[in-house]
């Protein structure tokens, strides 16, 4: 697979704020690549640089080997689905989709075929002559997708395209987006603050924080092997704990023993920071001599979350099924190696 979009050491400041600080990424042809992070992490700034609405102070952006850093948005083979869709309110769905092709000077017949194909692709044939104000949120979103895709962009940028919709519709459209991508095969760059969206849709994710890229990886590896404490905490829930290496594992500050996963080794005695996933901890009935007490029980449907406290440490533990322990119950804890990953100790 080729690298389609290459971002090389890009920086952008707004006054004293470093919105993007020396960011480098390379995005492959045809993949769904997510920029994931909390608000203010720089993901939207980066998207605006890719679309051409803004220019970096340093660094370059290449598309298919060509430097596009200084190219204005109208000359980039890149199209955007905006967060609020930004559909033209004075134009119908059909005219909205035709906006780009008309400017590009397509012939009448070419235009009609392409628009009909797009309308079919996003299932809006029956709404072709509606104005945006008459559409539901999901229909607006699909119109925005069609309006961008009809231009056959090399890269489609999506700026939190589902943020304005309710949960059920969001889950539904996520599936539609994935199947749409399989059909058109265009490179998608998807900006979101929602780790669930990013995890379920993306081939690869760049987790961003304070203008920097913390880690770029496939969703599963991001979850299993987070490179930093920020990534571990941002992708799903986790317990971040300190300990000291001994043979076969780590003795944590509160006396609990955490086995290290296969292939991960640490010299005995070195101090370490770990991420322990809540679903890889086991709760068992304990006695009064055990230090652990259940502080909080949160029923979550298919699973139950427990907050367990003891020896100055607070653990989040997730078990399948309904609550099996009541608040105040004495328990024993066990850590499974599959949920453990090593974090760099400094800087977090």
């Amino acid at each position: 697979m080729d690298d389609s979009l290459v971002i090389d050491a890009v920086s952008r400041r707004f006054g004293a704020l470093r919105a993007l600080d020396d960011v480098s990424l390379s995005i492959r042809e045809g993949e769904i690549f997510s920029l994931l992070g909390p608000s203010g992490c720089g993901k939207t700034t980066l998207l605006r640089l890719l679309a051409g609405f803004d220019a970096p102070e340093a660094g370059r952006i290449f598309l298919a080997g060509k430097d596009i850093t200084a190219l204005p948005p109208e000359h980039r083979p890149v199209n955007t689905v905006f967060q609020n869709y930004a559909l033209f309110p004075h134009l119908s769905v059909r005219e909205n989709i035709a906006f780009g092709p008309r400017l590009a000077g397509w012939s009448r017949s070419e235009l009609r075929t392409a628009i009909d194909r797009m309308l079919a692709l996003v299932k809006l044939e029956s709404h072709a002559d509606c104005k945006p104000a008459q559409l539901s949120g999901g229909q607006k979103q699909r119109t925005a997708l069609a309006r961008a895709l009809v231009n056959r962009p090399r890269v489609l940028l999506l700026d939190e395209p589902l943020a304005a919709l309710d949960l059920k519709l969001r889950q539904h459209l996520l599936v539609e987006l994935a199947s749409l991508h399989r059909e058109v095969g265009t490179t998608f760059v998807y900006v979101t603050h929602d780790q669930g969206e990013a995890m379920s849709l993306s081939h690869r994710i760049a987790v961003m924080n304070r203008g920097r890229v913390e880690q770029v990886d496939e969703p599963e590896r991001l979850y299993r092997q987070p490179a930093t404490a920020f990534v571990a905490a941002f992708i799903g829930n986790t317990n971040i704990v300190d300990g000291r290496a001994e043979s076969g594992g780590v003795r944590l500050a509160d006396g609990l023993f955490a086995p290290l996963p296969d292939g991960v080794n640490a010299a005995s005695g070195t101090s370490l920071r770990l991420s322990v996933r809540p679903e890889h901890m086991r709760l068992e009935i304990g006695g009064l001599e055990d230090p652990w007490r259940v502080a909080e029980v949160v029923f979550g449907g298919p699973h139950t979350q427990y907050w367990v406290e003891g020896r100055g440490q607070r653990w989040l533990i997730q078990q399948p099924g309904p609550p099996a322990f009541a608040r105040g119950a004495a328990v024993q804890l066990r850590v499974e190696s599959a949920g453990v990953s090593l974090l760099p100790e400094a800087g977090s």
Binding site: A51, G52, F53, P72, P73, E74, H75, V78, N79, T80, F82, Q83, N84, A86, L87, F88, P89, H90, F99, G100, L103, A104, K131, A133, Q134, R147, A148, N151
Partner: protein, 260 residues
Amino acid sequence: MKRSRLPATLTALVLLFLNAPLAVLVLNSFNASRFGGTWEGFTWQWYERLWQADEVWDAFLLSLRLATATTLAATVLGTLAAWSLHRFNGRLQHVHRALIVLPLALPELLMGMALLSLFTALHIPTGPLTIWAAHVTFCISYVAMVVLGRLRDFDTHLLDAARDLGAGPWQVAYRVLLPLLLPGILAGALLAFTLSMDDFVITFFVSGPGSTTLPLRIASMMKTSRSLPVINALSTLLLCATFLAAALSLRLGRRCTPPS
């Protein structure tokens, strides 16, 4: 609970207060009495007199030409002013804003005197051209304010979207910005036309010989009671034209709102 009659009564009184003068004016235009104090029978004679009053029609045509020219210039300049006020954030923008608002706040008397002093100082003879310049000066402000109001609701992402889809700066203005601002621009233009058509105070200062606009002509006719009923007839006709225009713009406005 019994509903109070006060709001209905109050509304009726206010409407009466606002519209009674107009009703009296319309009635008097058909009144055979010259002074309009008592009803002396129905007549068309004031309308016939008006039809023959060339000086009134000359004034009317001059006003119409001035208002059209004023509307054209003020709409373009006012829209551009609104756009630059909305779009750019310079250090001088608050000065710009103040200068735009100033003519709205300034007493017309002062503005008229100021314009006259300027034209005299520059040795520009007063006439249709100076009236036009004066009208454009204050109409810009009204147009800018109306368009600015429309711009506040404008989603600037639409401009990004247009560029993203391949539109250059001019195409963005022509295909997205203008169509969406059009209702505001038209409203501003209508306002400018009306203001120019009936301005008296400022026009009084900057008009010269041979440039008598309709309001000036009416004022001079008021001095002689002989022509008072003719003015009533003229006013009635203007009233009808205004109602027609208002009805038309309402209908146009309705057509623009999307059916839901």
